[in-house]
Protein backbone atom coordinates (compact mmCIF):
# COMPACT_ATOMS: atom_id res chain seq x y z
CA UNK A 1 0.00 0.00 0.00
CA UNK A 2 1.04 3.51 -0.60
CA UNK A 3 2.10 4.62 2.77
CA UNK A 4 2.89 2.22 5.56
CA UNK A 5 3.80 4.79 8.21
CA UNK A 6 1.93 7.81 9.56
CA UNK A 7 3.11 10.99 7.89
CA UNK A 8 5.28 12.95 10.30
CA UNK A 9 5.28 16.20 8.35
CA UNK A 10 1.71 17.07 9.36
CA UNK A 11 0.54 17.91 12.85
CA UNK A 12 -2.92 17.49 14.32
CA UNK A 13 -3.96 20.99 13.33
CA UNK A 14 -3.04 20.29 9.71
CA UNK A 15 -5.09 17.12 9.91
CA UNK A 16 -8.07 19.04 11.29
CA UNK A 17 -7.70 21.54 8.46
CA UNK A 18 -7.62 18.78 5.86
CA UNK A 19 -10.79 17.28 7.28
CA UNK A 20 -12.46 20.70 7.36
CA UNK A 21 -11.66 21.39 3.68
CA UNK A 22 -12.37 17.98 2.22
CA UNK A 23 -15.84 18.85 1.02
CA UNK A 24 -14.60 22.09 -0.57
CA UNK A 25 -14.28 25.78 0.19
CA UNK A 26 -17.51 27.70 0.75
CA UNK A 27 -18.32 30.41 -1.79
CA UNK A 28 -18.17 33.28 0.68
CA UNK A 29 -16.00 36.38 0.61
CA UNK A 30 -13.69 34.92 3.28
CA UNK A 31 -13.75 31.14 2.75
CA UNK A 32 -10.49 30.42 4.61
CA UNK A 33 -11.58 32.49 7.56
CA UNK A 34 -14.93 30.71 7.64
CA UNK A 35 -13.22 27.32 7.63
CA UNK A 36 -10.89 28.47 10.39
CA UNK A 37 -13.83 29.48 12.57
CA UNK A 38 -15.03 25.91 12.67
CA UNK A 39 -11.70 24.55 13.92
CA UNK A 40 -10.44 27.47 16.00
CA UNK A 41 -7.84 28.83 13.58
CA UNK A 42 -7.34 32.42 12.55
CA UNK A 43 -7.68 33.19 8.82
CA UNK A 44 -3.94 33.89 8.68
CA UNK A 45 -3.13 30.54 10.21
CA UNK A 46 -5.40 28.71 7.76
CA UNK A 47 -3.70 30.43 4.83
CA UNK A 48 -0.19 29.81 6.17
CA UNK A 49 -0.84 26.15 6.81
CA UNK A 50 -2.42 25.58 3.39
CA UNK A 51 0.46 27.43 1.73
CA UNK A 52 2.98 25.33 3.64
CA UNK A 53 1.26 22.10 2.58
CA UNK A 54 1.36 23.37 -1.02
CA UNK A 55 5.06 24.22 -0.68
CA UNK A 56 6.04 20.79 0.64
CA UNK A 57 3.86 19.03 -1.93
CA UNK A 58 1.29 17.49 0.40
CA UNK A 59 -1.31 19.55 -1.44
CA UNK A 60 -0.77 19.29 -5.16
CA UNK A 61 -3.10 22.11 -6.06
CA UNK A 62 -5.95 24.21 -4.78
CA UNK A 63 -8.50 24.97 -7.40
CA UNK A 64 -11.71 24.33 -9.22
CA UNK A 65 -12.62 20.68 -9.52
CA UNK A 66 -14.97 20.51 -12.48
CA UNK A 67 -17.69 17.95 -12.85
CA UNK A 68 -16.55 16.27 -16.06
CA UNK A 69 -19.91 14.66 -16.68
CA UNK A 70 -21.63 18.01 -16.86
CA UNK A 71 -19.11 19.18 -19.45
CA UNK A 72 -20.10 16.34 -21.74
CA UNK A 73 -17.33 13.89 -20.83
CA UNK A 74 -19.73 11.00 -20.42
CA UNK A 75 -17.38 8.20 -21.43
CA UNK A 76 -14.79 7.22 -18.88
CA UNK A 77 -12.57 4.35 -19.90
CA UNK A 78 -10.00 2.88 -17.59
CA UNK A 79 -7.52 1.36 -20.00
CA UNK A 80 -5.35 -1.36 -18.50
CA UNK A 81 -2.17 -2.70 -20.09
CA UNK A 82 0.19 -5.63 -19.66
CA UNK A 83 3.59 -4.06 -20.32
CA UNK A 84 7.08 -5.52 -20.06
CA UNK A 85 8.33 -4.65 -16.57
CA UNK A 86 11.66 -3.38 -17.82
CA UNK A 87 9.99 -0.87 -20.14
CA UNK A 88 7.14 0.25 -17.93
CA UNK A 89 8.63 3.46 -16.51
CA UNK A 90 9.58 4.74 -19.94
CA UNK A 91 6.17 3.83 -21.37
CA UNK A 92 4.29 5.18 -18.34
CA UNK A 93 5.99 8.57 -18.66
CA UNK A 94 5.08 8.73 -22.35
CA UNK A 95 1.44 7.73 -21.86
CA UNK A 96 1.03 9.94 -18.79
CA UNK A 97 2.07 12.96 -20.86
CA UNK A 98 -0.79 12.52 -23.37
CA UNK A 99 -3.38 15.26 -22.92
CA UNK A 100 -6.36 12.87 -23.02
CA UNK A 101 -4.96 10.78 -20.16
CA UNK A 102 -5.94 12.18 -16.76
CA UNK A 103 -4.23 9.60 -14.55
CA UNK A 104 -1.53 7.05 -15.32
CA UNK A 105 -0.32 4.57 -12.72
CA UNK A 106 1.71 1.42 -12.36
CA UNK A 107 -0.14 -1.15 -10.22
CA UNK A 108 0.59 -4.76 -9.27
CA UNK A 109 -0.49 -7.66 -11.47
CA UNK A 110 -2.71 -10.36 -9.96
CA UNK A 111 -1.68 -13.39 -11.99
CA UNK A 112 -3.03 -15.34 -13.65
CA UNK A 113 -6.40 -13.57 -13.87
CA UNK A 114 -5.14 -10.01 -13.96
CA UNK A 115 -1.93 -9.50 -15.97
CA UNK A 116 -2.29 -5.71 -16.24
CA UNK A 117 0.34 -3.47 -14.66
CA UNK A 118 -0.28 -0.06 -16.25
CA UNK A 119 -3.51 1.92 -15.84
CA UNK A 120 -4.34 4.98 -17.96
CA UNK A 121 -7.63 6.80 -17.43
CA UNK A 122 -9.04 8.13 -20.69
CA UNK A 123 -11.95 10.55 -20.82
CA UNK A 124 -14.03 11.39 -23.85
CA UNK A 125 -17.40 12.69 -24.93
CA UNK A 126 -18.21 9.27 -26.47
CA UNK A 127 -16.91 5.72 -26.48
CA UNK A 128 -15.76 6.16 -30.08
CA UNK A 129 -13.47 8.95 -28.96
CA UNK A 130 -12.17 6.95 -26.01
CA UNK A 131 -11.47 4.03 -28.35
CA UNK A 132 -9.60 6.25 -30.80
CA UNK A 133 -7.45 7.49 -27.91
CA UNK A 134 -6.80 3.93 -26.73
CA UNK A 135 -5.80 2.94 -30.27
CA UNK A 136 -3.30 5.78 -30.19
CA UNK A 137 -1.87 4.50 -26.89
CA UNK A 138 -1.66 0.98 -28.38
CA UNK A 139 0.36 2.32 -31.28
CA UNK A 140 2.79 4.16 -29.00
CA UNK A 141 3.32 1.10 -26.80
CA UNK A 142 4.19 -1.06 -29.81
CA UNK A 143 5.75 -4.40 -28.95
CA UNK A 144 6.10 -3.64 -25.22
CA UNK A 145 2.40 -4.48 -24.73
CA UNK A 146 1.03 -8.01 -24.52
CA UNK A 147 -2.62 -7.47 -23.72
CA UNK A 148 -4.96 -4.62 -22.92
CA UNK A 149 -8.56 -3.91 -22.06
CA UNK A 150 -10.87 -0.94 -21.54
CA UNK A 151 -13.08 -0.97 -18.47
CA UNK A 152 -15.87 1.54 -18.98
CA UNK A 153 -17.66 2.87 -15.98
CA UNK A 154 -21.29 1.85 -15.99
CA UNK A 155 -22.34 3.76 -12.90
CA UNK A 156 -20.79 6.03 -10.33
CA UNK A 157 -22.01 4.57 -7.06
CA UNK A 158 -20.13 6.93 -4.78
CA UNK A 159 -17.82 9.84 -5.35
CA UNK A 160 -16.66 12.20 -2.67
CA UNK A 161 -13.53 14.20 -2.04
CA UNK A 162 -10.79 12.93 0.17
CA UNK A 163 -12.26 11.05 3.11
CA UNK A 164 -9.80 10.88 5.87
CA UNK A 165 -10.16 10.95 9.58
CA UNK A 166 -8.32 9.94 12.66
CA UNK A 167 -7.50 6.32 13.03
CA UNK A 168 -9.61 5.83 16.14
CA UNK A 169 -12.84 7.29 14.86
CA UNK A 170 -15.63 4.90 14.14
CA UNK A 171 -15.28 2.68 11.10
CA UNK A 172 -18.72 2.54 9.68
CA UNK A 173 -21.17 4.01 8.74
CA UNK A 174 -22.46 7.35 7.57
Amino acid sequence: MNNPVPVPELDEIDEALIRATQSGLPITSTPYGDIGLGIGLSPDEVEQRLQRMLDIGVIRRIGIIPNHYQFGYRANGMSVWDIDDDRIDEMGETIGALDFVSHCYRRPRHLPEWPFNLFAMVHGTSRDIVEAHVAEIRKILGDTVHDHRILYSRRILKKTGLRWRKSKERKCCE
Binding site: V5, R61, I62, R106, R107, H110, C172, C173
Partner: protein
Protein backbone atom coordinates in the same frame (compact mmCIF):
# COMPACT_ATOMS: atom_id res chain seq x y z
CA UNK B 1 -23.61 22.64 -22.92
CA UNK B 2 -21.06 25.45 -22.96
CA UNK B 3 -23.54 28.02 -24.31
CA UNK B 4 -24.93 28.19 -20.80
CA UNK B 5 -21.60 29.38 -19.46
CA UNK B 6 -20.52 32.98 -19.66
CA UNK B 7 -17.08 33.90 -21.04
CA UNK B 8 -16.10 34.75 -17.47
CA UNK B 9 -17.10 31.30 -16.27
CA UNK B 10 -15.11 29.62 -19.03
CA UNK B 11 -12.16 31.78 -18.15
CA UNK B 12 -12.45 30.88 -14.45
CA UNK B 13 -12.50 27.16 -15.20
CA UNK B 14 -9.53 27.39 -17.53
CA UNK B 15 -7.45 29.52 -15.21
CA UNK B 16 -8.21 28.28 -11.72
CA UNK B 17 -8.03 24.50 -11.68
CA UNK B 18 -4.78 25.23 -9.96
CA UNK B 19 -3.47 28.37 -8.32
CA UNK B 20 -6.71 29.31 -6.61
CA UNK B 21 -5.59 32.21 -4.38
CA UNK B 22 -4.89 31.53 -0.71
CA UNK B 23 -5.47 35.20 0.15
CA UNK B 24 -8.05 36.16 2.78
CA UNK B 25 -10.51 37.23 0.05
CA UNK B 26 -9.69 34.91 -2.84
CA UNK B 27 -12.68 35.91 -4.99
CA UNK B 28 -11.60 39.56 -4.74
CA UNK B 29 -8.06 38.50 -5.74
CA UNK B 30 -9.44 36.64 -8.76
CA UNK B 31 -11.58 39.67 -9.64
CA UNK B 32 -8.48 41.87 -9.69
CA UNK B 33 -6.68 39.39 -11.93
CA UNK B 34 -9.47 39.19 -14.51
CA UNK B 35 -10.75 42.75 -14.28
CA UNK B 36 -14.02 42.10 -12.53
CA UNK B 37 -15.42 42.62 -9.03
CA UNK B 38 -15.72 40.26 -6.08
CA UNK B 39 -19.53 40.06 -6.19
CA UNK B 40 -19.60 39.11 -9.88
CA UNK B 41 -16.91 36.47 -9.42
CA UNK B 42 -18.73 34.92 -6.47
CA UNK B 43 -21.99 34.95 -8.43
CA UNK B 44 -20.25 33.26 -11.37
CA UNK B 45 -18.92 30.51 -9.07
CA UNK B 46 -22.28 30.06 -7.34
CA UNK B 47 -23.94 29.70 -10.75
CA UNK B 48 -21.35 27.09 -11.85
CA UNK B 49 -22.08 25.19 -8.66
CA UNK B 50 -25.87 25.41 -9.12
CA UNK B 51 -25.67 24.21 -12.71
CA UNK B 52 -23.53 21.24 -11.73
CA UNK B 53 -20.34 22.26 -13.55
CA UNK B 54 -18.39 22.83 -10.36
CA UNK B 55 -17.91 19.78 -8.15
CA UNK B 56 -16.09 21.86 -5.56
CA UNK B 57 -13.31 24.34 -4.99
CA UNK B 58 -10.79 22.38 -3.04
CA UNK B 59 -7.38 20.99 -2.41
CA UNK B 60 -6.05 17.95 -4.24
CA UNK B 61 -3.76 15.98 -1.96
CA UNK B 62 -0.73 14.09 -3.21
CA UNK B 63 -1.44 10.37 -3.19
CA UNK B 64 0.36 8.70 -0.33
CA UNK B 65 1.24 11.93 1.44
CA UNK B 66 -1.90 12.24 3.51
CA UNK B 67 -2.82 9.00 5.19
CA UNK B 68 -2.95 5.85 3.12
CA UNK B 69 -5.15 4.80 0.24
CA UNK B 70 -5.47 2.10 -2.36
CA UNK B 71 -7.58 1.21 -5.33
CA UNK B 72 -9.40 -2.08 -4.93
CA UNK B 73 -11.56 -4.29 -7.12
CA UNK B 74 -14.13 -6.98 -6.50
CA UNK B 75 -15.92 -9.57 -8.63
CA UNK B 76 -19.59 -9.56 -7.74
CA UNK B 77 -22.36 -11.61 -9.40
CA UNK B 78 -24.78 -9.27 -11.17
CA UNK B 79 -27.68 -10.46 -8.98
CA UNK B 80 -25.87 -9.27 -5.84
CA UNK B 81 -24.31 -6.15 -7.25
CA UNK B 82 -26.87 -3.65 -5.96
CA UNK B 83 -26.72 -4.99 -2.43
CA UNK B 84 -22.93 -5.34 -2.27
CA UNK B 85 -22.29 -1.91 -3.80
CA UNK B 86 -24.62 -0.36 -1.26
CA UNK B 87 -22.80 -2.05 1.62
CA UNK B 88 -19.41 -0.89 0.36
CA UNK B 89 -20.55 2.68 -0.26
CA UNK B 90 -21.77 2.91 3.32
CA UNK B 91 -18.20 2.67 4.61
CA UNK B 92 -16.93 6.18 5.26
CA UNK B 93 -13.46 4.90 4.28
CA UNK B 94 -14.64 4.47 0.67
CA UNK B 95 -14.49 7.63 -1.42
CA UNK B 96 -15.02 6.35 -4.95
CA UNK B 97 -17.10 3.39 -5.96
CA UNK B 98 -17.66 2.62 -9.64
CA UNK B 99 -19.40 -0.16 -11.43
CA UNK B 100 -17.26 -1.10 -14.44
CA UNK B 101 -17.83 -3.43 -17.36
CA UNK B 102 -15.56 -6.33 -16.53
CA UNK B 103 -15.47 -9.56 -14.60
CA UNK B 104 -13.98 -7.40 -11.86
CA UNK B 105 -17.01 -5.15 -11.86
CA UNK B 106 -16.79 -3.11 -8.67
CA UNK B 107 -13.88 -0.67 -8.29
CA UNK B 108 -13.43 1.49 -5.24
CA UNK B 109 -10.85 3.53 -3.36
CA UNK B 110 -10.19 2.72 0.30
CA UNK B 111 -8.69 5.44 2.50
CA UNK B 112 -7.36 5.41 6.03
CA UNK B 113 -5.02 7.24 8.35
CA UNK B 114 -2.55 4.35 8.29
CA UNK B 115 -1.91 1.11 6.46
CA UNK B 116 -3.35 -0.80 9.41
CA UNK B 117 -6.60 1.09 9.02
CA UNK B 118 -6.73 0.00 5.38
CA UNK B 119 -6.18 -3.62 6.34
CA UNK B 120 -8.99 -3.42 8.91
CA UNK B 121 -11.33 -1.89 6.36
CA UNK B 122 -10.52 -4.58 3.80
CA UNK B 123 -11.26 -7.25 6.41
CA UNK B 124 -14.53 -5.58 7.36
CA UNK B 125 -15.62 -5.30 3.71
CA UNK B 126 -14.78 -8.93 3.03
CA UNK B 127 -16.64 -10.06 6.14
CA UNK B 128 -19.67 -7.97 5.29
CA UNK B 129 -19.90 -8.89 1.59
CA UNK B 130 -18.42 -12.39 1.47
CA UNK B 131 -16.27 -11.44 -1.53
CA UNK B 132 -12.51 -11.09 -1.91
CA UNK B 133 -11.07 -7.58 -2.18
CA UNK B 134 -8.25 -7.41 -4.75
CA UNK B 135 -5.86 -4.61 -3.83
CA UNK B 136 -4.44 -2.50 -6.64
CA UNK B 137 -2.24 0.04 -4.84
CA UNK B 138 -0.30 2.59 -6.80
CA UNK B 139 3.34 1.59 -7.30
CA UNK B 140 4.28 4.58 -9.44
CA UNK B 141 2.43 7.54 -10.89
CA UNK B 142 3.40 8.88 -14.27
CA UNK B 143 1.37 12.01 -14.48
CA UNK B 144 1.47 15.09 -12.37
CA UNK B 145 -2.12 16.00 -11.66
CA UNK B 146 -2.46 19.45 -13.15
CA UNK B 147 -6.18 19.53 -13.67
CA UNK B 148 -8.25 18.54 -16.63
CA UNK B 149 -7.86 19.90 -20.13
CA UNK B 150 -11.44 20.66 -21.19
CA UNK B 151 -12.12 21.05 -24.88
CA UNK B 152 -14.46 23.97 -25.55
CA UNK B 153 -15.04 23.24 -29.27
Amino acid sequence: MQERLSPTQQQLIEAFQRGFPTTSRPFATIAEQIGSDEGSVMAAFADLKNKGYLARIGATYATGRVGASTLAAMEVPQSELEKVAEKISRFTEINHNYEREDKLNLWFVITGATRNDLVRTVEAIEAETGHTVHLMPMIEHYRLDLGFNLQWN
